[in-house]
């Protein structure tokens, strides 16, 4: 055996291993996640010009933020739409996903593998493909949705082009996209519940509704809460589908936060204002995420104390 059998050598080898094994992750995180946050803060206080591939920064103080708060109605329309989008889409996904999971539990087990495969499809194919697909399906001239509605004498509707229908259409696509995911989470949750409680409920002659209200939902509440928080926060990431379906239009009808950032940063080349938007968005979402986490945690702890 080598010299590292002595305690001191061993300690040093240990420490070297700890440092070496964490170094790649720490370097990646600092360079590509922590520095960008600092960078975006610096950029938001500046105006940037490119000269020969070199960034030329000049300090402009809070000018970008003042513009953001006073002269950027598009961003605020995006914030509003994003909140409507998140609440509407997530609540529908939760209700649909939960009741579908309940019905699967009662359905026969035949074809479970095929079902799971189909339900996984929207989760794993590129979101941009989903955008492209629904753009074709919802097209106003020869989209198949209008064709089908035409058979029963309805329409044609301009699903993506009219100010009134565009946001509901985008929400509907998102519900189609993410309900299977909620469904899979709910199903796993339901199947992990203790079946004896339900046996007891049946002996106590609770009907289906009572069983749902007094047993299933309370037992599932932790899973439900976590899924809601998770989906709500992720719906502020929406970008790909909106990009292809409506590009934020018509007007600002389907503008979402990410799309404003993209347009200002890359479309208008206004790095300063784009950074100010990014900075504000970053800190608001981080704040909400931490708050949601704290609430879920506290709620769980209370639950344990009372149980």
């Amino acid at each position: 055996m080598r010299a590292s059998t002595t305690t001191k050598g061993l300690m040093r080898a240990n420490r070297l291993w700890v440092i070496g094994s964490l170094a790649p992750v720490v370097v990646l995180l600092v360079a590509l996640t922590i520095w960008p946050v600092i960078n975006v803060a610096i950029l938001s206080l500046s105006s940037l010009e490119w000269s020969d591939g070199k960034a030329d920064l000049s300090f402009v103080g809070l000018a970008n933020f003042i513009e953001l708060f006073t002269d950027q109605p598009v961003y605020w329309a995006g914030v509003r739409n994003n909140i409507i989008f998140a609440v509407a889409a997530v609540s529908c996904q939760m209700v649909l996903g939960f009741f579908m999971a309940l019905s699967v539990q009662r359905a026969s087990k035949i074809g479970r593998g095929v079902l799971t495969a189909i339900y996984l499809l929207p989760i794993v194919i590129p979101p941009i493909v989903i955008g492209a697909m629904w753009r074709l399906l919802l097209g106003s001239d020869f989209g198949i949705v209008n064709n089908i509605l035409g058979f029963i004498g309805l329409g044609p509707f301009d699903w993506l082009g009219s100010a009134r229908l565009a946001l509901p259409s985008v929400i509907a696509v998102d519900i189609w996209h993410w309900t299977p995911f909620v469904f899979l989470l709910m199903l796993t949750g339901l199947e992990s519940l203790d079946q004896e409680v339900f046996e007891a409920a049946r002996i106590d002659v609770l009907n289906g509704w009572q069983e749902l209200r007094h047993i299933t939902i309370p037992l599932m509440l932790p899973t439900i809460l976590i899924t809601v928080a998770f989906r709500l926060i992720l719906s502020f990431k929406v970008f790909d589908e909106v990009f292809l379906l409506t590009a934020g239009g018509p007007g600002t009808a389907t503008e979402v936060i990410n799309f404003s950032i993209y347009r200002v940063f890359f479309g208008q080349d206004n790095v300063g204002l784009g950074s100010a938007m990014s900075f504000l968005t970053l800190f608001s979402v981080a704040f909400i995420a931490i708050l949601a986490n704290a609430v879920v945690r506290r709620w769980r702890r209370n639950k344990e104390v009372h149980a």
């Binding site: 700890v18 996984l120 990410n258």
Partner: protein, 277 residues
């Protein structure tokens, strides 16, 4: 409960679940059928049209189309970034779970990645763009690979810490007593025992990297453009070629379909473990 009412319930359940499955599969099948139709049949709304491979032919092999290269770019970026993120995350997960590094390091790495995971990607892309442009790395594979690694790092770390935690402590202690150093423990014990976990994390990392649009849209250029970005440009052309767009969409779904057919177990395990954390 009477047997009759439970039979009815089962039938109702079946109806709901298979009905929704049809709603998911329907649009996909429609795209698939469009990819085998001529433009004129699609525009005329012909349901049963003579099948043609011309869309695939022109998407893949015509001189105006770069889609074969786009698919290749997607594959390079997805394979390399998945390999890196798996290695880096498993290494870090082992140390964090079993070697008790200073507390603040653990909190920093796991806590920050959890927050980072929830932040909209677009809020970082602008900053990445400025950074890589200044370094002269804009539009390179390196820029795409590194950002994809970071993007998938939170998921890979959460999954791998979970899986490494399932490796019995005693096993590692025994190996240490036999004189293995940590490098050997990692190579001969942790890596083989966490292969299942790595398959789950790897499947997801590959799928996410292959699907990424927001990053590649802004950090790639003509030569490194990935398939999703190419599909978006397809759809935005003034004269949309529907058949070719459908063919491109179908081609870019193939990896996901392969995962569902051959690695369903890993995808499901990864998705569920990642979501509930």
């Amino acid at each position: 409960m009477t047997p009759r009412s439970s039979g009815l319930r089962a039938a109702g359940g079946n109806l709901v679940v298979w009905g929704y499955a049809l709603m998911i599969a329907g649009p996909m099948l429609w795209i698939l059928s469009n990819s085998f139709k001529r433009q004129i049949d699609i525009l005329m709304g012909v349901t049963i049209a003579p099948a043609t491979l011309s869309n695939y032919q022109s998407v893949l092999f015509s001189r105006q189309s770069d889609f074969l290269m786009n698919l290749f770019n997607s594959a390079v970026v997805a394979v390399v970034s998945t390999a890196i993120v798996l290695f880096v995350a498993t290494l870090a997960a082992f140390t964090i779970v079993r070697l008790q590094p200073p507390r603040w390091v653990t909190y920093l790495v796991l806590g920050w990645t959890l927050i980072f995971h929830m932040l909209p990607t677009l809020t970082f892309v602008g900053s990445w763009y400025v950074m890589f442009a200044e370094l002269g790395l804009h539009g390179t594979y390196l820029a795409l690979i590194l950002t994809h690694v970071v993007h998938n790092l939170p998921m890979a770390l959460f999954l791998m810490t979970g899986f490494v935690m399932n490796i019995p402590k005693e096993l590692i202690q025994a190996a240490r007593l036999d004189g293995c150093n940590y490098g050997q423990v990692f190579r001969h014990l942790v890596l083989p025992l966490s292969l299942g976990g790595m398959a789950a994390a790897g499947a997801l990392a590959f799928i996410y990297s292959w699907s990424d649009f927001a990053i590649a849209l802004n950090l790639s250029d003509k030569d490194t453009m990935t398939a999703p970005v190419a599909i978006a440009t397809f759809a935005q052309e003034y004269q949309i070629r529907y058949g070719e767009m459908a063919a491109a969409a179908v081609l870019s779904m193939l990896p996901a379909l392969a995962f569902i057919l051959f690695g369903q177990r890993f995808v499901v395990r990864g998705l569920l473990a990642g979501a509930v954390k």
